[in-house]
């Protein structure tokens, strides 16, 4: 499956049905990041049920300095 994560195209050979699958592959857990798919926010409690489909554009953001 091909998706775009943080502006970069990623191809997954393995089965990635849900957002949680993808986050697990990247070792992302904890409460210091947030996710949007196709410009819509996905709250943490939906990671497990959020289906991923071909071509989805996923943004994963973390706290950074800002003014």
């Amino acid at each position: 499956m091909k998706v775009v994560i943080n502006g970069k195209e990623k191809v997954f050979e393995e089965e990635v049905n849900t957002l949680l699958n993808i986050l697990s592959l990247f070792g992302k857990n904890g409460d210091y990041f947030a996710v949007a798919i196709n410009s819509d926010f996905v709250p943490r409690y939906k990671y497990e049920s959020q289906k991923i489909t071909e071509g989805d554009v996923i943004e994963i953001v973390t706290p950074h300095p800002g003014g």
Binding site: G7, F33, A34, V35, F41, T62, P63, H64, G66, G67
Partner: protein, 276 residues
């Protein structure tokens, strides 16, 4: 002590966290200046630990978080960023920043009104980063914002208060609202001037982070903001176009002596002329 959205704060200085030479300098700047509200952003991260490390530093500090939507150019982007910020930072405070022009980073007033409406309806406390336009301010207040954050001048420009008239107008028009100057301040004296106008606080970043000694500059701003506020509370004198001596005139030594001497001198001259 002042109250912002039901919370009490000692400091009226809000500080940005970007552009410091190191996390340690950022931390020292926050602690030395005793700021209690800091701004931060959400960004894509190469490695998740990068964002986590920054977050761990901030979480240790005795500060309240004001996440921003910096870099957003549309209502959709800003609203989604606000949603993500609420989850990560566990706050409903959001500094709503929707850029309308990339040259001077001027906020888009139309998108700002639209985004503010959506976020207020969703329970956010919106800190709208805005120009100093009075009509825009009225629209935002009509929507229900409790804070206005007009710029002093473009972000990072250090130009100071480019339109004091407009800023004074906003202050006079909305005496009950929390008004915080956001962006463009370059020197502590400019922050003091804003506070002397009756502004409730000042938010800045670049003037501190890009100074030679950020923690010292942060302290300088802290003192200037405190001084400016005290000046406002004390009640500034009215400006005049003429001089009034501050030292009492009554009892001035040699009072009229000079005139008397002049008169005596003139009499002597007259006598000299009359002398054949």
């Amino acid at each position: 002590m002042w109250s912002l959205l039901g919370k009490n704060f000692k400091s009226r200085f809000l500080l940005g966290t970007s552009g410091y030479p190191s996390p340690e300098v950022l931390k020292k700047s926050i602690l030395d200046s005793e700021v209690e509200i800091v701004t931060m952003s959400l960004r894509r991260s190469g490695g998740i630990s990068e964002g986590a490390a920054f977050w761990e530093i901030l979480k240790e500090l005795p500060v309240h978080f004001l996440p921003n939507t910096a870099g957003c150019h549309s209502v959709k982007e800003a609203v989604t960023t606000a949603h993500m910020a609420r989850e990560v930072f566990n706050t409903n405070w959001i500094k709503l920043e929707i850029i309308g022009d990339d040259y001077n980073l001027q906020p888009d007033p139309f998108a700002l009104v639209e985004g503010t409406k959506i976020l207020l309806e969703e329970g956010f406390e919106v800190f709208p980063y805005m120009t100093d336009d009075l009509v825009l301010a009225e629209k935002l207040v009509d929507l229900g914002v409790r804070i206005l954050m007009p710029w002093a001048s473009p972000i990072g420009s250090g130009k100071g208060l480019i339109n004091p008239y407009a800023l004074k107008t906003l202050r006079n028009r909305f005496p009950e609202l929390n008004l915080i100057i956001d962006a463009g301040i370059g020197k502590p004296s400019e922050a003091a001037r804003a506070m002397e106008m009756g502004y409730d606080g000042v938010l800045l970043n670049t003037a501190v982070s890009q100074s030679l000694t950020p923690n010292l500059m942060a302290s300088a701003f802290s003192e200037a903001i405190r001084g400016g506020r005290k000046g406002f509370e004390a009640g500034l004198m009215e400006e005049r176009d003429f001089a009034i001596p501050s030292t009492p005139v009554v009892g001035t030594p040699f009072w009229h002596n000079e005139k008397k001497n002049e008169k005596d001198s003139n009499c002597e001259k007259k006598n000299d002329l009359n002398t054949p």
